[in-house]
């Protein structure tokens, strides 16, 4: 256990003490009776190449964090708001536009209805937010809709909810990144040919930021979120003052070229389509409920407070933007140069080409980029919960060096980047797939909460259940409208959900089968096996590696046989002579191989000689431990082939025994 003792003299004659070295203390720490905790040194690479790679990784991702540092990585509300809300808050930048794009088709007067439609969406947002606030307290382990559905409806609906969410998280990354790149290429058209490259690079950067861990991601993403919120709130306050107090405003705009007659009646379908278009504002609302465990304690309370603040901010920004657009008679302009609603409103309030206008535009582009970040937190957490429940590969539940779910983060980055490449970075092509899953998810979650209240009947359950039931009906209608309004592309999501569910069920069945095979019944006591043991060692001759294999073999069983396969009988006789003189007590079998094969005759020997099913056979493969990568091609080729042939053979244990030159 300890190193060489070092004797030291004391101050008084005769006083002696010995300092005991504890070399193991650098690697392990005792944390309880019979419990050792590995320290960082155990994971440090030992080769030069490994150290170099680790150095690069430390620069890019940061130094590894211990599990006990998880609490330090948890998020305070201010950072959590930035991390989990960038998607929802950023949608205020385009949700108003989606409403106006539909309403303007019914003529200028219809644009005035945008405020009423927005109010309807704010009611929906409030309902959903209240529902998820209840989810956060009822299911503090996180997982959002998946947890609610799993607890109340069981396997299948929960997997539908999870699949819908996973699809939407991927779409959020793809859509928001491509949209942000479009903002950049609108300002600098020379960059348009590199749009896909810019989008992929942006996703890579966001992936890297998230791999550095929650807290650092919070540091990176907090400032842009608050700058956007601040500048947007200031714009709304100034605009509202000018409209309400100073009486500014404009008459309804002229109809767009090619639009139907201004006198066309506003149909219910059109209003519903406008409502469905504006409902994209709600994407990302559920992210906080998925990531409750990322919050500092008390997790549920902090998550609930953050959710309320997020919904409040989103409601104010969205409503304010629609109100100002409606008051100033602003409609989306696509030609000759695309002018978004926020850009036009900012131009009126801050003044076109003013510093305020450019700053607001810059902050808007930045928040759109960072909207992807919400998914980078929610997707890996949901994947980890699914993996823990056995519906996704287990690797997704392992946390990386920085306590982030690295594999989920990388998976999301890769899938989203692939989608962008596949769709040529076009937001227009991607958007019909967006927001479909979220409303399916909201509906499942709220119906689950209805069942939850019916079963628990906690104080105030009737009021709470009414809110969830109202929300459930509302989101179900919106889900249908969104699917129909965005058909036929949206139907791809409807197909993709069952595919994902089937895949998850397949994975779950596999894990369940393996667990059942591997289970040791509680009444089984593992005792020393009474079975006979024999050791067989394939040898090329008498070498140091063979000598080591025989020594090890003798510790396993008394019955040790060395098998020499050869097509050269003279050489075989020399080996026999060596064995008789130098390795007494070990049986040597010489197998002549007239077809010059080594592997086949040896495997057959193991199979047919002494094929007692009660005998446990240990095959020791002596190997030469190479020092350089190129030596691998010069050694151990036969051992490798033997291992490949024997692996899985019943009642057989294969032991690879490397021999080091310096032994």
């Amino acid at each position: 256990m300890s190193g060489n003792p070092q004797q030291l003299r004391g101050r008084k004659p005769g006083d002696r003490r010995v300092r005991i070295e504890r070399p193991q203390s650098a690697y392990f720490r005792h944390t309880g009776p019979g419990i050792l905790t590995a320290r960082a040194k155990t994971t440090e690479p030992t080769t030069r190449l490994g150290r170099g790679m680790a150095g690069v990784r430390n620069v890019l991702v940061g130094r590894p964090l211990a599990s006990e540092q998880e609490m330090e990585e948890r998020l305070p509300k201010k950072k959590a708001l930035a991390i989990f809300s960038s998607d929802a808050i950023s949608s205020s930048a385009y949700a108003s536009e989606e409403i106006l794009r539909v309403l303007v088709l019914a003529g200028p007067a219809a644009v005035l209805l945008s405020v009423e439609v927005s109010l309807g969406i704010v009611v929906l947002l409030t309902t959903v937010a209240i529902s998820y606030r209840q989810v956060v307290f009822a299911y503090p382990q996180g997982g959002g809709s998946y947890s609610v559905a799993r607890a109340n409806f069981g396997q299948l609906p929960s997997l539908v909810a999870a699949s819908a969410l996973l699809i939407d998280y991927v779409m959020t990354v793809a859509v928001s990144t491509s949209s942000a790149v479009e903002q950049i290429t609108s300002a600098i058209p020379e960059l348009a040919p590199q749009a896909v490259l810019i989008a992929v690079a942006a996703i890579a950067l966001i992936t890297l930021g998230n791999l550095r861990g929650l807290r650092e991601a919070g540091n990176i993403f907090a400032l842009p979120t608050y700058l956007f919120v601040g500048s947007a709130l200031l714009m709304i306050a100034l605009g509202a003052f000018r409209v309400l107090v100073l009486g500014e405003g404009s008459p309804p705009p002229d109809p767009l070229p090619g639009a139907p007659s201004p006198l066309q009646p506003i149909t219910l379908i059109l209003l519903l389509r406008a409502f469905a278009g504006g409902a994209v504002a709600l994407t990302g609302t559920e992210a906080i409920a998925t990531g409750v465990r990322a919050f500092k304690p008390p997790e549920s309370r902090n998550a609930a407070t953050t959710l309320v603040i997020m919904a409040g901010l989103l409601g104010v920004l969205f409503m304010g933007m629609t109100f100002l657009a409606s008051s100033y008679g602003v409609v989306p302009i696509d030609e000759p140069v695309k002018q978004t609603i926020p850009a036009q409103v900012a131009g009126i309030v801050y003044g076109a080409n003013s510093i305020g206008f450019y700053l607001f535009q810059a902050f808007t582009a930045l928040i759109l980029f960072l909207a992807a970040n919400t998914s980078f937190n929610a997707f890996p957490r949901l994947s980890a919960i699914l993996a823990q429940d056995g519906y996704m590969p287990r690797q997704l539940s392992f946390r990386g060096d920085r306590l982030a779910y690295s594999r989920g983060i990388v998976a999301l980055g890769v899938i989203a980047a692939a989608l962008i490449v596949l769709f040529g970075g076009s937001t227009h092509a991607l958007i019909p797939l967006y927001a479909v899953g979220v409303f399916i998810d909201f509906t499942i979650s709220q119906s689950g909460m209805v069942k939850h209240w019916l079963e628990t009947r906690e104080p105030g359950w009737r009021r709470r259940m009414s809110i969830n039931a109202f929300g459930c009906v509302l989101t179900a209608i919106v889900a249908v409208v969104v699917v129909l309004a965005k058909a036929p592309v949206s139907l791809l999501v409807i197909v993709l959900i069952p595919v994902l569910v089937t895949m998850m069920l397949f994975i779950h069945r596999h894990y369940a089968r393996v667990a059942s095979e591997q289970e040791v019944p509680s009444d089984v006591v593992v005792e020393r096996s009474p079975r006979r043991r024999r050791v067989i060692i394939p040898i090329p001759g008498l070498t140091r590696a063979v000598e080591q294999a025989i020594t090890v073999g003798r510790t396993i069983a008394d019955d040790v046989t060395a098998v020499h396969i050869t097509d050269d009988l003279d050489e075989a006789e020399r080996v026999r002579y060596q064995f008789e003189h130098q390795v007494p007590g070990v049986r040597l079998v010489l197998v002549e191989s007239p077809y010059r094969q080594l592997v086949g005759p040896f495997v057959s020997y193991v199979d047919v000689m002494d094929p007692d099913p009660e005998t446990l056979t240990f095959v020791i493969l002596p190997e030469y431990l190479v020092r350089h990568w190129w030596e691998r091609y010069l050694h151990n080729q036969v051992a490798e082939r033997l291992r490949h042939e024997l692996i899985g053979r019943p009642n057989t244990v294969i032991i690879s025994l490397p021999y080091r030159r310096d032994h």
Binding site: M1, L8, D15, R16, V18, H30
Partner: protein, 159 residues
């Protein structure tokens, strides 16, 4: 009115740990004080070797227990973000080894725990280590006393 509650600053302290109930107290107190003065701590555990063994002998079972004692102290210090080194010694006389180690590492303070024995009416177990260190250490010595059960309960005993 002069300030009387300020703890004297120290640069390096040796903590004598014996695996008893006062270890946790000693480490916590030392960490709190070390944080204020950014001092270094050196936790020392001495395995007492009797005359049946040579001083350099490996005493079966002792080193694992000793490592556990020192590792626990190190973990506590790490959590409190205080620098701590650990030293495992074997000696005939525990008190002398602690004092000699403190001199060797140029410590200006030794902190020891004083357990309280509940049996037979209760008393502090001074043993031989505490008196030796108090009499022979050339640096300051602090004794952290285990709370007396009667005094710890509010409303009973002297306060």
């Amino acid at each position: 009115m002069p300030e009387t509650r300020t703890s004297p600053a120290f640069r390096r302290a040796v903590l004598g740990l014996n695996g008893g109930p006062t270890d946790s107290l000693v480490v916590h107190v030392a960490c709190e004080l070390a944080k204020a003065s950014r001092a270094d701590l050196n936790a020392v555990h001495v395995v007492e070797v009797d005359w049946r063994h040579a001083l350099t002998d490996v005493i079966p079972g002792c080193h694992e227990r000793a490592s556990a004692i020192l590792d626990l102290a190190e973990t506590t210090a790490e959590r409190q973000k205080v620098a701590m080194t650990t030293t495992l010694l074997q000696a005939r006389d525990v008190g002398a080894a602690i004092v000699d180690e403190a001199v060797a590492v140029e410590a200006d303070l030794i902190i020891l725990g004083l357990p309280y024995k509940k049996r037979f009416g209760g008393d502090f177990r001074f043993g031989q280590v505490v008196p030796y260190v108090l009499q022979n250490a050339p640096m300051a010595v602090w004794i952290t006393r285990e709370p007396v059960p009667a005094q710890a309960e509010p409303g009973r005993g002297a306060r």
